[in-house]
Assembly symmetry: C2
Amino acid sequence: MHILVNAAMSADGKLSSRDREQVAISGPDDFDRVDAVRADSDGVMVGVGTILADDPSLTVDDPDRRRARSDRGDPENPARVVADSQIRTPTDARILDDEAETYLLTSEAAPPDFVAEIEETGATVVTAGDQRVDLAAAFDALEAHGIERLLVEGGGELIFSLFGADLVDELSVFVGPSVIGGRQAPTLADGDGFVEEFPALELRSVERIDDGVLLEWDVA
Amino acid sequence: MHILVNAAMSADGKLSSRDREQVAISGPDDFDRVDAVRADSDGVMVGVGTILADDPSLTVDDPDRRRARSDRGDPENPARVVADSQIRTPTDARILDDEAETYLLTSEAAPPDFVAEIEETGATVVTAGDQRVDLAAAFDALEAHGIERLLVEGGGELIFSLFGADLVDELSVFVGPSVIGGRQAPTLADGDGFVEEFPALELRSVERIDDGVLLEWDVA
């Protein structure tokens, strides 16, 4: 599986403010670029924190791009994928509507009732790992469902876990023209953090877009 | 006074790991660039956290640059400036050696004994503010000592305070090719964080340097 992580952060590396409310970091050109990347992906993934904070739909916005997907025999929208170890996704979350297939990756720690409730919405629950999602094993299951190109849109906890499991192929970061600040504000990569060895990146491209800059890194 | 904030952060916005040990983020070309900026400054400032973590000297490395300063009638090195509300700077800190003038900006909350000890090293103590340094008032005092161009090299607590007090003119950020991660790791701007209004930046220049990229922002 090929995994591209994409996110927009402030000039000081924050995804949003300490209140975890959405902050407009990028602009229309970057939104459109991300929409095109979504349309080229088999799956679009976030962590459950992003579901709870933003309730995104994770669908392709541009009708021409959805039509192009249909024309080539793909579903109109890529699958939605949520990493959710305990199943905290509410059953009325947008990603559980019928606009696209949805996979909830969870662990053995998820209450069976919650698994059943999620499955009733039509979503597929993939269980891998004891207390936390075993991401590598869960991704093998996604591959068996035809998901080869996965776009990960955050948040910082999931992004850190993916780097920790050595699963990231590419990192695209839009750096926006503002300072958010805050010890408690979510950053591009949170989690426990690395201490002695740090995942190394190679800068593939730098492009000015909207009022910021898009940095595209390959994982070395 | 003209205030330039300069720092190197990982691709995910961290100044160092959660252990607050120095991590090599930039490379020789960026070090040399920062040395040149130091040589063009009247003062080089950090917060006391940086003194305690790294014990930097904050002097100009290149002898030609020091000589050029002398030739134009300036001291060999710019003044060192430390924001240190309670005076936690140890008297054997490198910034208290005789390589350059040193100013400790402190508050009324600093123990008088500590003030006396610092003054014995030859450094100048500037007191402004009750519990925390009143940065604007302290900078007025520095201006009276001839410091017009101030380079601030971190850390994230000081940088946030400066943005909070609307004192920053320019922000230069080297974004390096690694992921550090960590909810607790220091970021480019820590502090309490902004919530509703965020300082806006204008991207002046983008330059690839070492294996990363230098982003130069003006504060809007």
